[in-house]
């Protein structure tokens, strides 16, 4: 049963990966190729580029990714819990509520510390 379904996904993955490559190769044959340094320079609103493009970013991006990671893992824990929900008792529900509540504390902390604010 498992093999049946994942076989298709595997074959599909190979085809879905090769297809765009083939198309790109095909257009490489079709299209004109007339590069020049001006055309190939980096775009910057019509002026010369200033400094390196790989600039340093602010920590704000990292903070959002961080909070996301925590909630993502929470979801991974809760999905099997939701699937097993019919089979488990009331006490298990209390445990899951505690689990969610501890993470809500984290969210409140992040809120208080202005980590949810885009600087």
């Amino acid at each position: 049963m498992l093999v049946q379904q994942y076989g298709l996904i595997g074959v599909f993955a190979v085809i879905a990966f090769i297809f765009p490559i083939v198309t790109l190769a095909f257009t490489w044959l079709l299209r004109p190729k007339r590069p020049n340094p001006l055309k190939n320079s980096t775009y910057e609103c019509g002026i010369e580029t200033v400094g390196d493009a790989w600039v340093q970013f602010r920590a704000q991006y990292y903070l959002f990714a961080l909070i996301f990671v925590v909630f993502d893992i929470e979801a991974i824990f809760l999905f099997p819990f939701a699937v097993a929900f019919d089979k488990i008792g009331l006490f298990a529900l209390v445990e899951a509520i505690i689990f969610v509540f501890i993470l809500v504390v984290g969210l409140i902390y992040a809120w208080k510390k202005d980590a949810l604010e885009w600087q």
Binding site: A59, Y62, L66, V69, D72, I73, I76, F77
Partner: protein, 103 residues
């Protein structure tokens, strides 16, 4: 199921060695952290392989892997935050240059 268990274990050993090599030899702390992730993944492969081959009816192996995921994520989050913090004051995150305690 035609794949012998030892293949998985040897594969995991190879991955673990690669990760350990990165931890021991890379200078950049982020690269070291990537090595740690490789090692954790190798352990996960072992856990799942043992579950599948030795105790398929008991799901403990899979549950353990989920906990390893959690620990790996927490480790990555705090480790990288530490690196960002160190970089802010020291302008480097090469592990052999960060060798004193005062930041």
């Amino acid at each position: 199921m035609t794949v012998p268990l030892s293949w998985y274990l040897i594969f995991a050993t190879a991955l673990f060695s690669l990760g350990f090599f990165a931890v021991l030899s890379r200078r950049n702390a982020v690269a070291v952290l990537m090595g740690v992730e490789l090692m954790l993944n190798a352990v996960n492969v072992n856990l799942v392989a043992f579950w599948r081959y030795l105790t398929p009816s008991d799901l403990s192996g899979q549950i353990f892997v989920v906990f390893v995921f959690t620990v790996a994520a927490a480790e990555a989050a705090v480790g990288l935050a530490l690196m960002i913090s160190i970089y802010r004051t020291r302008k480097t995150i090469n592990v052999d240059e960060i060798n004193d305690l005062n930041l």
